[in-house]
């Protein structure tokens, strides 16, 4: 019995089985995709993806917190000393090595997403052991360049896409 079936050409029935299965699977996948993709950000959520911030009123050493895509953005006007420290520390053995210069467009202004790269809390400004931010949730310390220095966070604070529209306005997103 097995011999004959093995040697047989595929029958019309096999063809029907396979075609049915393929059509069934394609149909199932095309029904499943809308059900999955509806979970992704809707058009209205994606539409909010760029904002402008007025930075004219921030004094040296001061900072501004603005909301972008539901997350805070830290805009910090750094002092001369802070910039010096940040650049001097480029040469240290950092957990996530990045030069300060590569993290800014204008040395005076640091723009980072204010979300701890560990599990998403908002770090507190002007605290921690490295003169930058400290995340209270699980104890991550960031320096004045937003780089992770100590604690469980794996990477530096993210730099969002941004540009200076003019002296007073930063466009984020």
């Amino acid at each position: 019995m097995t011999d004959t079936t093995e040697n047989q050409e595929p029958s019309r029935r096999d063809f029907l089985y396979i075609t049915t299965a393929v059509f069934g699977a394609t149909g199932a996948a095309s029904v499943a995709w809308p059900l999955i993709d509806q979970l992704n950000p809707s058009a209205s959520v994606s539409a909010l993806s760029s904002i402008e911030a007025d930075i004219s009123s921030i004094p040296e050493g001061g900072s501004l917190k603005v909301a972008w895509r539901g997350k805070p953005i830290f805009i910090r006007r750094r002092t001369k000393e802070e910039i010096e420290i940040a650049e001097k520390e480029d040469s240290l053995d950092l957990p996530h090595p990045e030069k300060d210069l590569d993290r800014v467009k204008n040395k005076e202004w640091l723009v980072v997403v204010g979300v701890c790269t560990h599990l998403g809390c908002i770090p507190i400004a002007d605290s921690g052991d490295f003169g930058g931010w400290f995340c209270p949730c699980h104890g991550s310390h960031y320096d004045i360049s937003g780089r992770i220095r100590k604690g469980p966070a794996p990477t530096n604070l993210e730099v969002p896409p941004y540009e200076f529209v003019n002296e007073n306005i930063i466009k984020i997103g």
């Binding site: 999955i36 979970l39 992704n40 950000p41 809707s42 959520v45 917190k65 909301a67 895509r69 539901g70 997350k71 805070p72 979300v115 560990h118 599990l119 998403g120 809390c121 908002i122 507190i124 995340c135 209270p136 949730c137 699980h138 104890g139 469980p152 966070a153 794996p154």
Partner: protein, 427 residues
Amino acid sequence: MNHDYQYTPKNGFSKWLDKRLPLMRFADENLLSFPTPKNLNYFYTFGFILTMCLVTQIITGIVLAMHYVPNTTLAFDSIEHIMRDVNYGWLIRYTHSNGASMFFLAVFIHMFRGLYYGSYKEPREIIWILGVVIFLLMIITGFMGYVLPWGQMSFWGATVITNLVATIPIIGEPVLTLLLGGYSVDNPTLNRFFSLHYLLPFVIFGVVILHIWALHVTGNNNPTGIEVKDSKDTISFHPYYTVKDLFAYIVFLLMFCYFIFYNPNILGHPDNYIEADPMLTPAHIVPEWYLLPFYAILRAVPDKLMGVLLMFGSIVVLFFLPWLDTMKVKSARYRPLYKIFFILFVISCLLLGYLGAKAPEGIYLFLSRVSTIYYFAFFLVIMPVLSRIEKPLPMPIGISNPALNNTVYDSGGGVASGTPSYAMDSK
């Protein structure tokens, strides 16, 4: 399980029904005359208590959903509306929120019971595995429910926990966006969490049915861990265990009522009465008490991905229990070494719960590392090793026969020699 009893329909109607839909037969065989070991103690009442907890959550939950609004601008206010304006809204909400805690309290006791009496061993592996599935579903449901009031802890707890997903290499970020429906926890997240929080208890209900079905195939384990041999070892479920279960449930309800009526907020966090603010993280984010041990494990590890893996691993390892502990003797009663390690295990779990609420620094961090190591060592090292080397105490011949069995269990856990003597059989 030996059923030497047969359901016989008594009157005309039940005879008629029995031929068409044997509902009465089913109820009789599974609820009334179900043969149950006669030596079950109060730890065995928690299965019933859990069923009642689930029913309570479903009923109060459906009522709450009639007044709650799953929208970030209204959710917090609608909770206050339930608390202040809706007739008995405060009672229904406090019952639901404290009910979740009671549910977890009961499930922890239920699980430690299984661990102590070896209820996960052959032939009850499936019962145990379904139990772990229920436990996982309970955690997910509880977590999503806590997000709904849209307080500070709701929001930040959700942020921290969903961010765990982002640690998965490569697919982490897109999956997180898919899960949240945006780039951070927001209205789409709240909406879908509400939808799923409504759905999952019914899924749990389905798995509970399978869990009890599997239980009714093998029959209950019992505190001796010796399998039922004949009808002398069992009594009918009704009235003996219906009454015992009800009594235990009433005592449990008294404690439940203490929380509802005298201390309804003690198990929650006061920050959750502050409306969610996505721009401000509270100083201390703590999950609900029943998730603290897992949170402590997460934070005990300095590496992000490892922390997440260990946290999930601490539950996944439970699935493999039947194959990690191969000792044939089930009950810790007859396993002097296992009993000691079991007690240490309970202590390590309680300690982890305590540490999960503390800042992960200094002595707290050190202790959470020690307890985390012990937690995993208990399953992955101690259980397999004990299965090999432990010498169990002499065991009685059967549930109804206290005479000691002269059967010797070898260190591999198998039966080595000797034939049991029934000479002492009392009945």
